[in-house]
């Protein structure tokens, strides 16, 4: 029973009338018309060629390309994140040599186009025929590799994308580390923890809250940036679509196929990011939000407005608090 139910005052029968929003109805109507026009044009215009899109959406080359894109994204981001953490820690190190090297790396890799970097990695054999492990300057070598076997197309793509990403991730991680209150590392050092342990157990886990959202951005951006490896003829999603275009001389439907897959992958990544954020946000709220993405979607899609009191309780309860 609510307070409103058992009250007997006249005030308890007053109905609260919510503010009307005629503007919302107008906006909804305008948007509905525009959306209807768009959908109509998609369906009515034969040049979209939905039949072709349907036939190629699950074609083997497209699926293989999608998988390759995913592989490239994941590996490049692993290199990027690991490198970024290393560079950020170096950048913040009291050791001036480490800090300056990190600054130089970030300057160089952010300052040159990633496309050029990938092409240079791919053509490294032009500059260095062989890569050897040995002692410098004294012509003692232990092992020698041919550069071409060491750095494949795929290797060049990972190196180019990953090392470039590391420069950007370094700044993101650095921002995260700087956002953690200095009192945290002070408290940890007062407990006798050495700095490597403080970084790993105290600072980085808290920095993650700041690091995760922009990293999600970077990952989604990377997903699409992988399409530039078409320049070194690596068959990922965009290259696969391009191959169809080259043989059929029809372009838009295949681009749409590629976009559908890019969107699908982006959606999955977005949901995943939500879960990661929830994990690193633990302890940061007095009342932690419950449930993951699917649960929250379920709640949001339910009819009715759960954040308002039910219709039968929408009765003013003023004046009977003390009764």
């Amino acid at each position: 029973m609510t307070a409103a139910d058992d009250s007997t005052g006249a005030a308890s029968h007053l109905k609260a009338v919510p503010v009307r929003h005629p503007g919302r109805w107008v906006a909804a109507a305008v948007i509905a018309v525009v959306v209807a026009m768009l959908i109509h044009s998609f369906l009515a215009n034969p040049l979209y060629d939905w039949g072709r899109i349907g036939r190629t959406l699950f074609a083997a080359p497209i699926l293989r390309g999608t998988l390759k894109t995913l592989e490239l994204t994941v590996l490049a981001m692993v290199v990027g994140i690991a490198g970024g953490i290393l560079l950020a820690v170096m950048r913040l190190s009291p050791n001036p040599v480490l800090s300056a090297s990190s600054a130089f790396y970030i300057w160089f890799f952010r300052g040159t186009p990633v496309l050029v970097q990938i092409v240079i990695w791919y053509n490294l054999s032009y500059l260095y025929k062989h890569i050897s492990l040995g002692l410098p300057f004294v012509h003692v070598t232990f092992v020698t590799f041919s550069t071409n076997t060491l750095i494949s197309q795929f290797g060049a793509a990972i190196l180019g994308l990953g090392l470039n990403e590391a420069a950007y991730m370094a700044e993101i991680v650095r921002a995260g580390i700087l956002s953690v209150d200095e009192g945290q590392s002070e408290a940890a050092s007062a407990l006798g923890m050495p700095s490597s342990l403080i970084m790993r157990r105290i600072v980085l886990p808290q920095a993650m809250r700041i690091i995760v959202p922009p990293t999600g951005n970077e990952t989604i951006s990377m997903l699409k940036t992988t399409s530039i490896v078409i320049y070194i003829a690596l068959p990922e999603l965009f290259t696969s679509a391009q191959n169809y275009i080259n043989t059929t001389f029809v372009s838009i439907p295949y681009f749409i196929v590629a976009c559908i897959w890019y969107l699908a992958m982006t959606s999955v990544l977005t949901i995943g990011q939500g879960y990661i954020e929830r994990y690193y946000g633990r302890g940061s709220n007095r009342n932690p939000p419950s449930g993951g993405f699917l649960e929250r979607m379920g709640r949001a899609l339910r009819f009715g407005r759960p954040w308002l009191p039910g219709r039968d309780q929408m009765v003013l309860s003023t004046g009977n608090n003390g009764d």
């Binding site: 209150d181 407990l191 006798g192 050495p194 105290i202 808290q206 302890g283």
Partner: protein, 250 residues
């Protein structure tokens, strides 16, 4: 336990400690009072080498803080050695500085498990006893932000005690608390003092200093102006500056 001889410290060109001499015996409680900016917190932070001193000698339990003397030279200690010494000194901060991403239990057992390599079960056992001691039994799985300031500070005390320190430093432990929560924290500190812990307390709580302190030091502008038995210093200050300060806080 703590001995300071002519300790000097500067930040840039401003000298914040201008030759501090004081001594805390084993099992003693020393309270430091003084206006803000007098250098009392800095002195406390020098004791576990969170701040480096620029002159004089500072030793804990007979060993220099942050340095090693060989012949007539002082060698700065490596980070690991400093960390090892810090592990024997507990510290409680004004703003608690609990680790927000760990539960209360996680906060308490982190350092014993990872620094002293105590077995996890044993650390948990001791953590529970300590939580009981500070009046927070059963709160192991709460996150710090779900606790009140007074409760957080008591967890912070338990966290420091979990390392079994031989000396406890308190840096204005009740200054950030609502007035009605101060008492709980002071009670815990009073019990700790009775159990024989050596304590170095920077505080504004005159009542606590008078009742629990064995020694009271009044600092102003980087020097010790007056020191003595708390009751005497508070009731009968010898220096104008002490009188001035006391008239404002009492």
């Amino acid at each position: 336990m703590v001995r300071a001889e002519g300790v000097r410290k500067r930040f840039g060109v401003t000298e914040v400690l201008k030759g501090i001499d004081l001594e805390v015996g084993r099992g003693e409680v020393l309270c430091v009072i003084g206006p803000s900016g007098s250098g009392k917190s800095t002195l406390l932070r020098c004791i576990n080498h969170l701040e480096k001193i620029h002159g004089g000698r500072l030793s804990v339990d007979g060993e220099l803080v942050g340095y090693q003397q060989r012949g007539d030279r002082l060698y700065e200690l490596r980070e690991r050695e400093v960390a090892r010494k810090r592990a024997e000194i507990g510290m409680v901060f004004q703003h608690f500085n609990l680790f927000p991403h760990m539960t209360v239990l996680g906060n308490i057992i982190e350092a014993p498990c990872r620094v002293k390599k105590v077995a996890r079960d044993e650390a948990i056992e001791r953590a529970k006893r300590l939580l009981d001691q500070v009046g927070l039994a059963g709160r192991e799985d709460t996150y710090p932000r779900q606790l009140s300031g007074g409760q957080q500070q008591r967890v912070a005390i338990a966290r420091a005690l979990a390392m079994e320190p031989k000396l406890m430093l308190f840096d204005e432990p009740t200054s950030a608390l609502d007035p009605e929560l101060v008492g709980d924290v002071l009670d815990v500190m009073r019990d700790l003092a009775r159990s024989g812990m050596t304590m170095f307390v920077v505080t504004h709580e005159m009542g606590f200093a008078r009742e629990v302190g064995d020694k009271l030091v009044f600092m102003d502008d980087g020097v010790v102006v007056e020191a003595g038995v708390p009751r005497d210093v508070i009731a009968n200050p010898q220096h104008e500056r002490t009188r001035n300060f006391l008239s404002k806080v009492l």
